[in-house]
Symmetry: C2
Subunit: 301 residues, 2 copies
């Protein structure tokens, strides 16, 4: 899994910082998560083959999370895109996009599907053989979801010494990987667990922006490989967090600890701060494995 941070600052764009957008590479998918103004330029700057994006996930309809979407949709048209594009977003976004297309008399020459989100419970919104995506209901000023991207459990690994020892025909290897008991060449049934090893632990990535401190998301993101959690404020502005429905670095770290994630990535910094290091320092008073998102940074897990 590879996470490309295109933008990780809160609302006000500045000269050198970008509003929220990320690309997650997982099992041959390129998932775009949020799409603030200027995202298409960030995609180009970071040389992401953005025509490969087939699914876009929008957390909520504050401008710093979606104002770049209509431009990206238009650019796909200008570049002659033919592949379907799926947009998973709160109800209302379709109306915004369609109205602008109508006024410009510019319809896409590819299929554009809107999957409008309205549920306030976590739901499965995308699934294929290798990946699942679930919503993570967040607590913000308007209807907002985070997203949990999960690899599905893979195939068991063959313990080749044991397999050869048992003298199992190669034709059964596929079934062994799928967990079945199979016969050996003598016709005796071999218990699967005696000749295979468990599948590698599937990885998962949880994106949680924007949200107030909210322990309700802990069970949904439990044991995630990586958690991106917003940390708009430092402790000295902690009083602003509750009324604006944002979090502090310490609150993000508390969620990370309660959910027992492996790694916490902080982002969505208020543009009032110049020194990001303080976010890490404050979070590490609660949870050790903290990284700072920065525009252009890439995480692999």
């Amino acid at each position: 899994m590879k996470l490309n941070i295109l933008g990780c600052y809160s609302a006000t764009p500045r000269t050198f910082t970008n509003p929220t957008s990320q690309v997650l590479e997982i099992k041959n998918h390129l998932f775009l998560i949020d799409c603030g103004e200027g995202t298409q330029v960030q995609l180009r700057k970071h040389k992401i083959k953005f025509n490969r994006i087939k699914h876009i996930f929008i957390s909520h309809l504050h401008g710093d999370h979606f104002f770049g979407l209509v431009g990206l949709i238009s650019t796909f048209r200008l570049l002659g895109r033919e592949a379907d594009l799926h947009i998973h977003a709160p109800k209302g976004l379709k109306e915004v996009i369609v109205l602008q297309m109508k006024l410009a008399q510019s319809w896409t020459n590819y299929n554009l599907y809107f999957h409008e989100l309205t549920s306030t419970s976590s739901e499965l919104i995308f699934e294929d053989e290798k990946v699942e995506v679930h919503t993570i209901p967040l607590d913000h000023r308007i209807y907002t979801n985070g997203f949990l991207f999960k690899e599905k459990i893979g195939e068991r690994k063959l313990d080749m010494n044991a397999v050869l020892n048992e003298d199992i025909d190669v034709a059964y290897y596929r079934k062994l990987k799928q967990g079945a008991d199979v016969p050996n060449k003598k016709g005796e049934i071999v218990k699967n667990q005696t000749v295979t090893l468990p599948a590698p632990q599937p990885k998962s990535y949880a994106f949680c922006s924007d949200t107030a401190y909210n322990e309700a998301l802990v069970p949904i993101i439990k044991n995630a490989t990586a958690l991106y959690h917003e940390s708009t404020f430092l402790e000295k502005h902690a009083k602003l967090a509750a009324p604006t429905k944002h979090s502090t670095a310490v609150q993000a770290a508390t969620i990370a600890k309660l959910a027992n994630v492996e790694q916490l990535i902080l982002g969505h910094y208020s543009t009032r701060y110049d020194n990001l290091q303080d976010f890490k320092t404050e979070a590490q008073t609660i949870f050790n494995n903290v990284e700072l998102a920065e525009d252009g940074k890439v995480f692999e897990f």
Copy 2:
């Protein structure tokens, strides 16, 4: 008059080029003309005091001319703007902006006025003591206006030698500048033209993007000090101009010549071209005083 080019390329944003946006400084106004995606970042990069913008003029509702507007409106709110903001734009834009505000539950804390344009004839859309703004109906795929920014004719200048010679009381100087005949100290009426000089020729700037070759705009922009005219294509792609309702550099120069403008500024280049110099070379076969717009360039006239 000072013209700041923020972006001057056609539709597809690339890493280092920006879609259409300009700021015209005229008689203490900062007028924003078109507002493609990323305009607010360009305003910051070029250190334009964008809180001073009170009037925004949008030519048409293709995304490369207005996708940056909703973000700018939001940023004004975040920065605590209090001054009124007037948006002069084709009918439909108000609906787009209001819908997005409604979804975000984010209303401006300043007055936002939409002046919706629907006329296909040139009309006066803004006027104060020193400036007029008129629409320039253009011929594009959707309803489109250029804009003519005109200084009003100023006051006559006193010919101080003649004024002192005629022994006119200082109390009458203001009337003289306004063109009136006034008495001298002996009570004799002095003809205005014998003691004043004509006001300086008022300057004007015509913005014409996007449009097919269209001689109907010649009388509207006649004798303009500067004309920005789109030149999407070079001669080798001249066949694309008519169906897409754009112009070539040669067509832009022909309009400049017919309208007898002082200076032609080319822009709205298709992003297929790397060498802008060819636009100038081709235009200069028709009209001599040609300049190339470039992102970040400033023109003074």
